[in-house]
């Protein structure tokens, strides 16, 4: 139970810590302020709690496909919001009337709320099961032992997530200081693609997408269930044996923001709408 709790932290909560680091590093502190960060965390927990409350009836919708389809919908919201945020933060002069700069922080918050809801709801189910087991009077000694293991697992899991994110944010800020923002953005796009590609396993699980055969197998080097596997999965969506459809979705969702940014940047440059100081960055 101890290792399992730590694994759940790494699987469900580490991506949220990584995402907030990216948002803090890539968006200006005046844009994605502490107020927005706190509001999105509170809203995210509320949406996750709502999903947890309705999880059982929701799972029975659409012939038992309700939970997967909800997660897919939330991940699409997450991806599209981050697409808008990425474009607007790089090209602020674009779509000024449609998406004013003041809206960027709100869209980033929507994206964060969606990701918290996807990851947080399954974590809440785990907490609920743990509480139910500990209230069960069947065997007090087993219950006490499990409770202790889960509490230690919580402390260790939270400790890993917090220390990892402090170090990660430090690295991202250092890279930004060294004018290597492109590296930070590439990492962010890989992270977004990794999170979004989760829709493939959800859709194949409910037979709405063909799984296809695994294209490569890295299990000799890194196992999905290992610590490195979990961290790489949280960072870039690493899979030991990805299918063709997974790789297709992964690369399209990774390349789409880059291609869109370059196309829109080229259009702006040709129309001379781009600010002179911004031209230097390009």
């Amino acid at each position: 139970m101890l290792i399992n709790t730590v694994v759940l932290f790494l699987r469900d909560l580490l991506p949220l810590f990584i995402f907030i680091c990216y948002l803090k590093a890539t968006l200006e502190s005046q844009v994605f302020t502490l107020k927005y960060q706190l509001i999105s965390v509170v809203f995210g927990i509320l949406v996750a709690a709502l999903l947890f409350i309705i999880a059982e009836p929701l799972s029975e919708f659409f012939e038992g496909r309700g939970s997967e389809l909800t997660k897919v919908l939330l991940l699409i919201i997450f991806y599209l919001s981050m697409l808008v945020v990425s474009i607007k933060s790089e090209l602020p002069s674009l779509f000024k009337k449609l998406v004013p700069s003041t809206l960027v922080a709100k869209i980033a918050a929507v994206s964060f709320v969606s990701l918290i809801a996807v990851n947080g709801s399954s974590f809440l189910i785990f907490l609920d099961v743990y509480l139910q087991l500990n209230m069960s009077p069947l065997d007090a000694s087993i219950a006490d032992n499990q409770a202790l293991n889960v509490v230690i697992g919580f402390v260790v899991g939270l400790g890993i997530c917090v220390s990892f994110s402090v170090l990660f944010l430090f690295i991202l800020r250092e890279l930004k200081q060294l004018n290597k923002l492109w590296l930070v953005k590439t990492g962010l796009f890989l992270f977004i693609a990794g999170q979004f590609s989760y829709i493939v396993s959800q859709l194949t699980q409910i037979d709405m997408l063909s799984a296809g055969y695994p294209v490569v197998n890295f299990s000799q080097y890194i196992q999905d269930s290992s610590e490195y596997g979990h961290i790489l999965h949280a960072l870039i969506g690493f899979e030991t044996s990805p299918s063709f459809n997974f790789l297709l979705v992964y690369f399209i969702s990774f390349l789409l923001p880059i291609l869109l940014l370059n196309t829109l940047r080229f259009r702006l440059q040709s129309q001379n709408k781009i600010a002179p100081q911004y031209k230097e960055d390009l």
């Binding site: 399992n4 999880a55 399954s122 785990f126 396993s201 194949t204 699980q205 999905d224 269930s225």
Partner: protein, 118 residues
């Protein structure tokens, strides 16, 4: 030859393909969870075929069917059945476990080259 097909013919072909995909025979396998133990603990399925696995949770608490190797995770609520599709997979052994009771709820799916597995 394909260039001569009208859009309507393409639509019919595409619909027929989807219908074939939907109604193509998918073997069904069953797993039961009772007292936080999966039965059978070893489930044999055919290689290179997509199969449907129905998991019945007879316990009083939810359980999450989880497998890193199969890339599947599904919460099954008390007294309910959940369906997941697995494969097509190459022959081999794929472990799974119950996320909330990992010590007792464990099992494996054995993918065999022989198509006549049950």
């Amino acid at each position: 030859m394909f260039k001569k097909l009208s859009p309507q013919a393409w639509t019919i072909l595409f619909t027929a393909f989807l219908t074939f995909q939907t109604f193509a025979e998918t073997q069904v396998f069953y797993l039961t969870l009772e007292d936080h133990v999966f039965t059978p603990s070893s489930l044999e399925i055919p290689a290179n075929k997509k199969v449907k696995v129905i998991i019945h949770n007879k316990d009083k608490v939810p359980e999450e069917f989880d497998s890193f190797e199969l890339n599947r995770e599904k919460v099954i609520f008390p007294g309910k059945k959940a369906v997941i599709y697995v494969g097509p997979l190459p022959a081999g052994e794929y472990k799974y476990f119950g996320e909330y009771h990992p010590n007792s709820a464990r099992g494996r799916i054995i993918v065999k080259g022989d198509a006549n597995v049950n």
